[in-house]
Symmetry: C2
Subunit: 271 residues, 2 copies
């Protein structure tokens, strides 16, 4: 397995948000080589039909597999919800999403009270987290927070504006036990949200939960990079390289060379 273990881990997102997952993976698994693909030409996925998002995820997986990845992390809530089961069935390598680890962590950390979910309009409307939590018996409260992503990308996550917007979104919340940060951008708002929620509410960061699950699974499967391997990061983007570099810096995304690529549409049986 050693030659396979040395191969890179593929990580993808509709844009830059998945860089928080990549950062968490780098902390949990510093010896891995990472190939990050940001589909910035087609961001955001949240407002697009599910079949379209599944097609995009399949195209991206093909591109990553062609580049020899040993496994794929779907670092995007919308794409995880839309395509994880199909990709896990179809691909010859292990595939992880960000939703299940977040749900598991919230159920584990919760004390039986109501679990809050914050996310994009797409994630909240598709009930990505709520359905899974409720099937496990948890009561939920969910809120779409469309201003959070641009606040993070502006680099004003710790401002008065961020705090007022957090208060605005949380104004009608019931008593909450735990809150899931159900969007890959939101970890940047962690301090502001903790202040708005008060110290008694726990917070689950899907990025960290996912990194912990991937680290455990790679070890179990004997696929973790050998301890002596120097970790590395390469970025592939479908849109503009300069604007990606700019936002990646604000999100503290790991450094590495950035290359622009075009994705090939799949020829489907129906087409």
């Amino acid at each position: 397995m050693l030659s396979l273990a040395r191969k890179p881990l593929g990580v993808f997102d509709s844009g830059v948000g998945g860089l928080t997952v990549l950062s968490a993976l780098r902390r949990a698994l510093p010896n891995e080589s990472y190939l990050y693909l940001g589909d910035t030409a087609r961001v955001p996925y949240g407002s697009k039909p599910q079949e379209m998002v599944r097609d995009f995820a399949a195209q991206i997986s093909d591109a990553l597999l062609q580049r020899g990845v040993k496994g794929i992390v779907i670092a995007c809530n919308t794409a995880s919800a839309a395509s994880l089961p199909a990709l896990a069935d179809a691909l010859p390598v292990p595939v992880w999403g960000v939703v299940e680890p977040g749900v598991e962590a919230a159920l584990l950390r919760g004390r039986g009270g109501r679990i809050g979910v914050l996310g994009t309009v797409g994630t909240i409307r598709a009930r990505v987290y709520q359905d899974r939590l409720e099937r496990a018996g948890a009561a939920t409260w969910a809120k779409a927070c469309p201003l959070f992503v641009p606040i993070v990308e502006e680099g004003i996550s710790d401002s008065t504006i961020a705090r007022l917007v957090a208060d605005y979104y949380l104004a009608d919340r019931p008593g909450l036990d735990t809150v899931i940060l159900g969007c890959t951008h939101y970890p940047a708002l962690r301090a502001t949200l903790q202040q708005a929620l008060g110290p008694d509410v726990g917070m689950v960061d899907s990025a960290e939960s996912t990194a912990a699950v991937v680290a455990r699974d790679l070890r179990v499967m004997g696929l973790a990079a050998p301890p002596g391997q120097a970790g590395s990061v390469r970025h592939l983007v479908t849109g503009d390289v300069d604007s990606y570099r700019h936002t990646a810096r604000i999100l503290h995304g790991p450094d590495g060379p950035i290359e622009r690529i075009d994705l090939a549409p799949r020829i489907t049986a129906a087409g």
Copy 2:
């Protein structure tokens, strides 16, 4: 020309923002039939490469022409900048964009002082307005305001949050004579921006300027709908119908039936 004059006017945008242009057109030309196409499956255009936006605009124009429009208004700053000259050359009907009318109005209303431009990251980075204004001899100051679109779509354009965000974006402005609202969402923020800018700064709304130019040109060309014709609006969207309806309502977009359509990619010589 009468049979042609009775035909609908096509209006398109990457999403819902162009509805402010549609509203301005309805006020200026209440007897027209409008066919509005929102490419909500592929919004936003601002972060996408110019050739891609040009392809999208060509596909949309084909779809509108197939439905018999007598002219096309590109109600999107990014698409206007990327594709107006090419579409105007290629199409058998008149084509208008939102950029030139905004620039003309600012130059006309300005008193020789500096002209400010507010827009999305894509519009500001592409210098869509700045280059045209500076070629005409005007001094400019420009600011990308990525929080404004989600503030408008949240329906909180007149809130404390909106005012703080306006102050944040305008904090480092020099003395300004006139400000161009260079994004189709921004007219909703007009009152808040006027407060933030103070009463002495003029404001140019590209939507209104464009509607005035289209109204004048249709009359000159003999293409305006006859006065007795009852105006109407039909909406075509490439993404989710419910989420379009929701945001259209917040933007006070004109009512009318909404239909979901798929756009056919063009077969290009290179493909």
